[in-house]
């Protein structure tokens, strides 16, 4: 990333592969992530999508919001379906196409992790993009493996979630695949460049985990999607990084924060109603975890 020329708003392509007026909620972080990622991928791309907010965004038959071929597949099967698309591309002489799985956090880290692990182990020639909005939003905000500790959801309605967020990108990185990156809906140009880079690394499995704020699910006003996403990075809670052929490096805004003051995590928690039940104990625990993580980054 450091050596590549970074994309700016001035040289970002005008081509749109997601139609406006789709069914995303107002302020939807996924709307930004999907539009940006598809710009980076370009039209020579085939998508596999499980049930998720993206299924809704894409529209109801017989209309579709995406100007790319897309196969909707069962919840647990996204990475295996992308595998099948790639196999067919090789078998039919169209191997140059990008094959991209696009799934939510539940579809990736919970029900879909077996198929994803299998695809990573086999080194399938696919790009897997997980948009992580930290709960089952499409079904009405139930806890998922990536919901952070303390968060109120419709299935953790009184005490909040008791367990920490599952670190899905680290699990995927443990497979030793060619490329793992994190990104944020709040930094679309960084996401754009990472998707471009992933697409250029054709041949192996590439995974991008995108932090994706969700106004109704997280409980903030629709105008604050970018602000909330940026704040998560500013606190050091969600970090932007790449693991290229096993080499870890912080990127973008996270790289800039090394050695600098980070926003206290309590400030981030105040911006969203989902954190309203947090005890001081959990806030302190979370701050300590972040501090330890960053101490390790700079060690």
């Amino acid at each position: 990333m450091d050596n590549a020329k970074k994309t700016t708003i001035l040289n970002l392509t005008d081509d749109e592969l997601v139609n406006p007026g789709n069914r995303a909620c107002s302020g939807c972080g996924l709307g930004i992530v999907y539009r940006t990622a598809l710009k980076a991928l370009g039209k020579d791309t085939v998508l596999a999508v499980p049930p998720s907010c993206l299924t809704v965004l894409q529209g109801l038959y017989p209309v579709a919001a995406t100007k790319l071929p897309c196969v909707n597949v069962t919840f647990a099967s996204t990475a295996a379906a992308a595998t099948g698309v790639r196999a067919a591309m090789r078998a039919t002489g169209r191997d140059h196409l990008n094959v991209v799985a696009f799934a939510g956090d539940g579809g990736t880290g919970d029900i879909g992790i077996q198929a994803l692990s299998g695809a990573c182990e086999r080194g399938e020639d696919i790009i897997y993009i997980c948009y992580d909005n930290e709960a089952y939003m499409n079904t009405g905000v139930q806890r998922s493996g990536t919901t952070p500790k303390g968060v109120m959801t419709t299935t953790t309605p009184i005490k909040g979630k008791l367990q920490h967020k599952k670190d899905v990108p680290s699990i995927i990185a443990a497979h030793g695949i060619d490329y793992v990156a994190t990104a944020s809906a709040a930094y679309p140009l960084d996401l754009y460049d990472k998707v471009k880079k992933a697409a250029a690394m054709k041949g192996g499995t590439r995974y991008i985990h995108v932090h994706t704020p969700c106004p109704p699910g997280w409980g903030f006003d629709t105008r604050y999607t970018i602000k909330v996403g940026k704040m998560s990075v500013a606190t050091g809670l969600f970090d932007l990084y790449e693991i290229v052929n096993g080499e870890f490096s912080l990127t973008g805004e996270s790289a800039k924060r090394v050695g600098k003051e980070r926003t206290p995590i309590a400030e981030y928690f105040k911006t969203q109603r989902r954190f309203k039940g947090l005890t001081q104990e959990i806030i302190d625990e979370m701050q300590a975890i972040i501090d330890d993580k960053w101490a390790a980054y700079t060690a």
């Binding site: 039209k43 020579d44 791309t45 085939v46 596999a48 299924t55 809704v56 894409q58 529209g59 109801l60 038959y61 017989p62 209309v63 579709a64 995406t66 100007k67 790319l68 071929p69 897309c70 196969v71 909707n72 597949v73 069962t74 647990a76 099967s77 990475a79 295996a80 379906a81 992308a82 595998t83 099948g84 698309v85 196999a87 067919a88 591309m89 090789r90 078998a91 039919t92 196409l97 077996q114 198929a115 692990s117 299998g118 182990e121 086999r122």
Partner: protein, 397 residues
């Protein structure tokens, strides 16, 4: 070319001759030697296909669903719990109208664990919207696999080729293996009208509303119910296609002519034993013995279970006095599913034979020929006493 090979290899060579492009494979007994053989064909360069050693049966069907949607001829195989682990995917493949072919080496379903043969796995999956074909010997396995691709691609419906685990999958029999040129003349390359293609992008399996809905040009597009009605109508229409394809196959390969039921000594039979798979061949010995004693009995093997060829079944059975349905599966809490289907097909006949139900060989329980003889004799002599209740053959406790 005449070869002597196992039933699993008879299936594998059929898959090879069909020029299958994508194979997804996950091991399960007793199917495993089939996909092992395919890996050998692919690694050895005999079959230029993509071979994906997936991490589960659910993913095996996912690969086939996606590769078929993308325009490649796709195959997998499984048994028992592997088939059931695919369940939602099987519905998905049928709803998405994908011409996937899958072999099932029939096996009993756990719990308790069993690896031995019965038909509970596939019979329990009869309502998926798949075509289900059953084979009685190795030649039928080999031929049916080749025919299955043509059928699936003609009607855009996935096809299950079912054959008895161990009894056929692991036994060796001679069969004729056609030349590649003959198969190529019979089965053209897979060329779907719609597939995943950036030049003509389409969104497949989109959320569909209960009601019909206009597209952007104002044309009315079907709702969920119309789409499902079409699947059913096309499955019923597949009955005619099965007959047609059987005829085309016969012209090239010189085999076939009995696409739905395979009768043995049924022409003048008062009583007909009715079953699926290799059991119908075993019953032939019983039929011969009973014929020598003067009982006019025959046996009929059903080759197509879904769509159910009700007219062919009615025509074949309505004129006899009694039908004895021998089944390796059961709709628990009711009767054998095949038994219910046969009775249903006969209901509109002018004169109806009695129909009895015998449950045999569950979980590989040995089906002794004398047990079958006793069952047929009991059925014929005790028409009124037996009724609808399934009779269990070969129980020891």
């Amino acid at each position: 070319m005449h070869v002597i090979e196992s039933g699993n290899v008879a299936a594998a060579t059929g898959v090879k001759l069909a020029r299958t492009q994508v194979i997804a494979a996950y091991p399960i007994t007793p199917q495993t030697p089939l996909t092992e053989k395919l890996s050998e064909f692919v690694e050895g360069g005999e079959l230029p296909a993509e071979y994906i050693p997936v991490e589960s049966e659910h993913s095996a069907m996912a690969v086939c669903i996606a590769s078929s949607t993308a325009g490649a001829r796709s195959f997998t195989a499984t048994s028992a719990n592997g088939l059931l682990y695919m369940n939602e995917q099987l519905h998905w493949a049928a709803g998405s109208r994908l011409p996937i072919v899958m072999c099932v080496a029939n096996r009993g379903v756990g719990a308790p664990w069993t690896v031995w043969n019965d038909h509970q796995d596939t019979v329990s999956q009869r309502d998926l919207g798949w075509i289900q074909l059953y084979c009685a010997d190795h030649q039928q396995i080999h031929d049916t696999v080749i025919k299955a691709f043509k059928l699936a691609e003609t009607v855009s419906i996935p096809v299950m080729v079912c054959y008895d685990g161990y009894l056929l999958s692991h036994t060796y029999m001679p069969f004729d293996q056609p030349e590649q040129e003959q198969v190529d003349a019979f089965l053209p390359p897979f060329a779907p009208e719609h597939f995943l293609n950036p030049e003509a992008p389409r969104n497949f399996n989109t959320v569909t509303l209960p009601d019909v809905r206009p597209d952007i040009h104002g044309n009315t597009a079907p709702g969920y119910m119309e789409i499902r009605k079409t699947l059913h109508s096309d499955l019923r229409g597949a009955i005619g296609e099965i007959e047609k394809i059987d005829g085309e196959f016969g012209e090239i390969f010189g085999r076939g002519g009995e696409p739905f039921v395979e009768p043995y000594r049924c022409d003048d039979a008062d009583y007909v034993a009715f079953c699926m798979g290799s059991l119908s061949y075993q019953v032939r010995d019983v039929v011969d013995a009973m014929r020598e004693e003067g009982t006019k009995v025959g046996v009929m093997g059903l080759k197509v279970y879904r769509p159910f060829p009700d007219v062919a079944v009615r025509d074949a059975l309505a004129k006899c006095k009694g039908v004895i349905v021998l089944e390796k599966a059961l709709s628990y809490g009711n009767q054998g599913a095949l038994f219910a289907d046969v009775k249903s097909a006969l209901f509109s006949a002018e004169t109806r034979p009695f129909v009895h139900n015998y449950i045999v060989g569950l979980g590989g329980r040995e089906i002794k020929t004398e047990h079958l003889y006793d069952a047929l004799t009991e059925s014929i002599n005790n028409e009124a006493a037996i009724g609808d209740e399934p009779q269990w053959v070969g129980l020891k406790m």
